[in-house]
């Protein structure tokens, strides 16, 4: 149960952290950016599923959020291959890996 709470909190923090990051970098909150809005929705949905949903829902939403983040990052990496882009992409991959670890732990807890 603790793992699912942690997973839910972490998924909920992700859009918040992204907002702060953009706010510090550009001085403007990213609330009108469509890719960011989708990003926030999928991660919030994953957080909700982790907190209240079944394992089936959790799996769908977690992998939707991870997939969306990776696809957006990789598509930007293809159009502009520079250090900043590579760094963001690596960060996202590691972050998504952490989320998937938490998910697997939650999953094994359910099985146990």
């Amino acid at each position: 149960m603790l793992t699912r709470v942690l997973l839910s909190a972490y998924c909920l923090l992700i859009p918040g952290i992204e907002t702060l990051r953009v706010l510090f970098a550009t001085g403007i909150p990213p609330m009108d950016r469509i890719l960011f809005i989708i990003f926030a929705i999928v991660w919030c949905a994953a957080a909700l599923a982790a907190g209240m949903g079944t394992m089936r829902f959790l799996r769908i939403f977690i992998f939707a959020a991870i997939g969306y983040s990776l696809v957006v990052n990789l598509s930007y990496l293809l159009t502009r291959f520079d250090l900043l882009q590579i760094g963001t992409c690596l960060r996202t991959i590691v972050g998504c890996f952490l989320v998937s670890l938490l998910y697997r732990r939650a999953h094994s807890e359910v099985l146990a």
């Binding site: 960011f36 957006v72 882009q85 960060r91 972050g95």
Partner: protein
């Protein structure tokens, strides 16, 4: 929970927060950072600099150094401003651009009275809206500086290309009240401001990073930049296409028109003493004359090239 476990949890939390998934920063890049102070100062001058900007848009180095999509965007923006009705545009200029703190008279009033007939008469300021002809003093300056073959060319015998372009600009300026004396004096002041901005290292850094001008070195003045541009326009005249030649001629025609118009309505330091214009540091008329003469030389070369090609 042991201390070691707590530390591990803390490290994991920090690690997790630092490596949270996100979107690429370049996606947000168009937001841009807030403008640096010097760019803010420049943008504060924007509305009444718009016709100077039009000239810039038609200049050779602008076309060569700015991406076509950006050129298009800037042109549409300026067209939007130009489409405002004259009264609204004038109000905008008076309210937002001329920085009353700098040009207010001793009692703090905004010097709207500079437009009075008395003022116009007192300073012999020409305000023939939409006319192309320069003032007699300017024509005299140019006549005295012409020599040899150049004497055969009347700077105001316009080609078809130039005529169309100048009529367009003159009509726009007349529509936007840009042909009035304050606007022209403000242009002379803007040139002086540009001289000052060219000593602003923060702005130069931005310029060097985003709008590198080949041949530009720090320490150059506006007149040097203008000369640099003329040299760029004069380059490769024999090999460029007819269309390119006409575009360059248009650009130079704008420059001659604008510079001679500034000079024609230019009031030197002695003339503006005791008037609200006194607080404007303007570029010396000799510098503007030099720039005008430089543009005329370029025009002579362009006209020669048109003749060589049988286009004139």
């Amino acid at each position: 929970m042991t201390v070691k476990l707590k530390l591990q949890a803390l490290a994991l939390a920090i690690f997790g927060l630092a490596l949270a998934p996100g979107l690429p920063m370049s996606y947000y890049a168009s937001y841009g950072r807030p403008l640096p102070a010097s760019a803010q100062r420049l943008s504060n001058q924007a509305p009444d600099a718009r016709f100077a900007a039009w000239s810039l848009f038609d200049s050779e180095f602008f076309r060569r150094n700015i991406a076509p999509s950006e050129q298009e965007r800037l042109r549409s923006m300026m067209a939007g401003l130009a489409s405002m009705d004259p009264q609204r545009l004038r109000e905008q200029i008076l309210s937002s651009n001329l920085r009353p703190s700098k040009i207010a008279n001793a009692s703090g009033d905004f010097p709207g009275q500079v437009y009075s007939a008395d003022f116009m008469q007192r300073y012999k300021i020409r305000s023939e809206n939409g006319t192309v002809k320069a003032s007699e003093p300017v024509r005299a300056i140019m006549a005295s500086k012409q020599s040899g073959q150049e004497q055969a060319v009347d700077p105001y015998a316009l080609t078809e290309y130039e005529s169309d372009s100048i009529q367009l600009v003159a009509a726009m300026q007349a529509a936007a009240s840009q042909n009035d004396p304050l606007a022209r004096q403000a242009q002379a002041w803007q040139l002086a401001e540009m001289d000052r901005l060219l000593a602003d290292s923060e702005l130069l850094e931005i310029m060097e990073q985003y709008f590198p001008v080949p041949g530009f070195t720090r320490g150059m003045k506006v007149a040097d930049l203008a000369h640099l541009e003329q040299e760029t326009i004069r380059a490769d005249l024999a090999t460029i296409s007819d269309e390119e030649l006409s575009v360059r001629l248009d650009g130079v025609a704008f420059q001659i028109y604008n510079l001679s118009d500034i000079l024609g309505k230019y009031a030197g330091p002695a003339d503006i003493e005791g008037t609200p214009f006194e607080v404007f540091p303007v570029l010396p008329s000799s510098a503007i004359e030099g720039m005008l003469h430089d543009s005329i030389q370029t025009r002579v070369l362009l006209i020669d090239q048109l003749r060589v090609r049988g286009l004139l």
